[in-house]
Symmetry: C2
Subunit: 144 residues, 2 copies
DNA sequence: ATTTATGCAAATAGTTTGCACACGT
DNA sequence: ACGTGTGCAAACTATTTGCATAAAT
């Protein structure tokens, strides 16, 4: 029994073809390209001959999100075009994101100093942090 | 001639009633409540007897955004409900946001240490920062 | 056999746009 | 008068939902 099958069982979801395929896709994609929109997932799967409806993709992703199998992000690329949610496999660890506006690459990072300062700021104002989201939008450095 | 009128002239927009009213609203609201959605602006203005269409509110806000008179944010309150853009007057200075999930209050802050670390991280990966967005989602501390 | 998933099409929510009229300059 | 801006209604996009069928346990 595959690992994916167990993942699904563990979170109480039936092991169906669409769910396995979506998991597979999210696992396969390479590091800088593993943040996919619902539509990308839909398109990629159908290109590979898997006939899976867009509604199913959305439903499955939102179930996965609730089950903490995936994380959902809203990267506002600032560029005005309509914003789409994108999803990545949930690896357990928290990390922030750096999005390259030219290539669309997404680099993940963690900086303990930044994390600490955030806690301090929240604390100073009498709050506890529930969550936070840090996205740095970047462009490749023009090396002279 | 009012300050608002000059703001509009300066960015090349005609001085119209809807634009003045929207500016006024954004200026008047108190610090923790000055991040308004298009719909809130529409509703507030109409409650005050200003008959301004929702489409106009959207159009004006997006013109203001391009003119750097306002900033647009997408606060994903995590809670699953549909996400709406919200707008605040652009004061020139950059700042990050802390959103209270219980009251909806928005606290602004800047931390030079965090800013610096971000530059460092981008730099280390060969990127220049174009922009960044840091939102801390918090809940009031339960004081024992 | 029973429960849960799926696909399709229709619904929804936020936002945008076309067009005829009204307003600012 | 001229060029913009506005309001309304209709269009659009991302996402969700109702329902009849199909698949998983």
């Amino acid at each position: 029994m595959s690992e994916k099958t167990m993942d699904l069982r563990r979170v109480g979801l039936k092991v169906t073809h669409p769910r396995l395929q979506i998991l597979r896709l999210l696992e396969q994609t390479d590091p800088e390209r593993k943040h996919l929109t619902a539509d990308e997932i839909y398109r990629l799967l159908n290109e590979q001959g898997e006939e899976i409806g867009l509604a199913t993709v959305y439903r499955v992703l939102s179930q996965f999100e609730q089950a903490c199998l995936v994380r959902k992000h809203m990267f506002d690329d600032g560029s005005g075009r309509p914003m789409q949610a994108c999803y990545e496999l949930h690896d357990g660890d928290h990390h922030d994101h750096m999005v390259c506006l030219e290539t669309g690459d997404v680099i993940e990072f963690v900086d303990e100093e930044i994390e600490e300062r955030q806690r301090e700021i929240a604390n100073r104002h009498g709050y506890d942090i529930v969550e936070h989201s840090l996205v740095i939008y970047v462009k490749p450095k023009k090396s002279a």
